[in-house]
Amino acid sequence: MFAELNSILNSSPESFKQGEFILVSDRQTDASFLIHHFLSFYLRGCKVCFLGLVQSFSHYSAVSQRLGVSLNQAREKGQLVFLEGLKESLGVLLQGDTSNGTPALDFLRDPSSGLRGLYDFVHGNIRGSEGRAEDWGPPVLMVDDLSVVLSLGVSVGAVLDFSHYCRATFCSELQGTMVILVRCEAEEEEEESDEGSERLQRGLTHQCSLTLQVQGLPTGYCRDIHGEVEVCWRGRCDGLQIQRKLFQYKVCDKGTLFFARGTSSAVL
């Protein structure tokens, strides 16, 4: 986990806000470094259900090793429930009609059925540990990344229904946390298309309580500054409705440096 990001978000593994829905979105860059941060952050004390739809388990394991967390150990202890989307999807796609694969990835067989199977999988895994709930803190759901199902034929409405149900279960009922990554593609047409990652991102932003929007620098690629992160707290309490903060970042070998705009060490 990145210490600077913790201070920006005013949270630490011992004390963080309950019931948060954190949306990480990126545009023309890769925000998965934030997923690694949150994974190692929450594995310090919570039970995590991770839906890894775009990378293999060994990928996250290797990166988390550098951040000081062992995913293998966590999985063995039962602290981490990992859905390896890429591996399971082979089972679903190659075996055809036989229902050997988990029903979680049923949307691969029939995209119009939506993500109800995925929700049932998540719901079952959290409920299943009811007896040992006191071992870990409030449950955490992480998804990397949710926008990939759009290219598999699932509609934006179905994805928003899934995220709504997850939020109702994880954030409101169990007071846990949700972290979802969506990747937006730059839309070429001027008119808003009905089914698109932009619409999904807007819909999820309406539902969430904290967004981290990552973008590349508008001026292009830079060796010392990899991009900008805009952190928005969507007000649940009275006072200023939305609080925004903008930072620039640089991804390093064992962490990420965050600094205010224009104060990169390469510039000063």
């Binding site: 109800r116 929700y119 049932d120 719901h123 409405g157 928003l160 229904d161 709504h164 149900y165 109702a168 409101s172 009922e173 808003e192 009905d194 619409r199 807007r202 819909g203 932003t205 309406h206 539902q207 969507r234 007000g235 649940r236 009275d238 409705q241 939305i242």
Partner: protein, 297 residues
């Protein structure tokens, strides 16, 4: 005008609250509910799809809270977990009327939908409009107030809902950090349309404070201190006109302007203009009638 809409008690009212990702309209919605609850014997029914009951009741005055009936459509709106209080498919005139009949002793009922965007995702927009119109005209409900996220739908869908509304309030973040901006459009029963744009903020007790009115938003950028520079000054030649010169200039008839004198000169042939003599041949079909007779010049 925002305060008038918030405090309005006309029957058959339909208030549409439009918001976007940059500013959430839910606080203003709660503000409206708080105002409605302060009125005696008024009951508010909420179809809550997007916020849980705890979050919704947070900040509302506890003394009036029992007159707020929250119908939980947040935990299970599609029936996936099997313990739903209200599903999105129950958004019909019969089911909503059943909900409202739970409080028969109320003097006036306000129905709040948070949010209509959820319903529009699962139902055909035309059907939603029909049901909303039925609720509005039905008589069981005095006012319907609805929250819509305009950036989640096509313009046509939002436009159809707008047509049903008697008042439309669009909220957006304020430009100078003073609060938020609300554009209000009100349509009276006689069909008169009134519009207003105000900066507002919501206090802790959910009351609304109006900061300023921007009734002519386009004019705020005009700089009235600008002095005009006279281009005819400081030249080595004279560009100014004396009075006689100006009169002569105004009297001058421009060559290609079609004035009344020119028109009458053209229509009546003057002396000395050419005459046309026509001797019809045996094969010619000579019609004495003037073909231009019906022209009205």
């Amino acid at each position: 005008m925002l305060l008038e809409v918030l405090q309005g008690t006309e029957a058959g009212g339909f208030i549409l609250l439009q918001d976007t990702v940059s500013y959430s309209g839910r606080h203003l919605l709660k503000s409206y509910i708080s105002t409605a609850l302060k009125r005696e014997e008024e009951v508010v029914h909420v179809l809550g799809f997007e916020a849980c009951e705890k979050e919704f009741r947070d900040g509302l005055d506890r003394t009036n809270a029992q007159r707020l009936h929250f119908h939980n459509a947040y935990s299970d709106p599609l029936g996936w977990t099997g313990n739903s209080a209200f599903t999105v498919h129950q958004f019909t005139l019969e089911d909503v009327s059943t909900l409202i009949k739970q409080t028969p002793q109320a003097k006036a009922v306000t129905l709040v939908i948070d949010s209509l965007s959820w319903i529009l995702r699962h139902h055909d927009p035309a059907a939603v409009c029909q049901r909303l119109q039925a609720l509005k005209k039905g008589g069981a409900v005095r006012t319907v107030i609805v929250l819509v996220h305009t950036d989640m739908h096509q313009r046509g869908t939002v436009g159809s809902i707008r047509h049903l509304a008697t008042s439309v309030v669009t909220v957006a973040p304020g430009t100078r950090g003073l609060g938020a901006v609300a554009k209000t459009t009100r349509r009276t029963k006689s069909g008169k349309l009134m519009q207003d744009e105000e900066t507002f903020s919501i206090n802790e007790d959910l009351s609304v404070t109006i900061h300023s009115k921007l009734s002519h938003p386009g004019h705020t950028h005009v700089n009235t201190d600008e002095t005009e520079v006279d281009p005819t000054a400081n030249l080595t030649f004279n560009l100014r006109l004396s009075d006689t010169e100006r009169q002569a200039k105004e009297k001058l008839a421009l060559p290609f302007v079609f004035s009344k004198e020119k028109k009458s000169a053209l229509l009546q042939p003057g002396p000395g203009s050419g005459r046309i003599l026509y001797e019809p041949d045996a094969n010619d079909d000579y019609d004495q009638e003037d073909p231009d007779d019906d022209l009205d010049i």
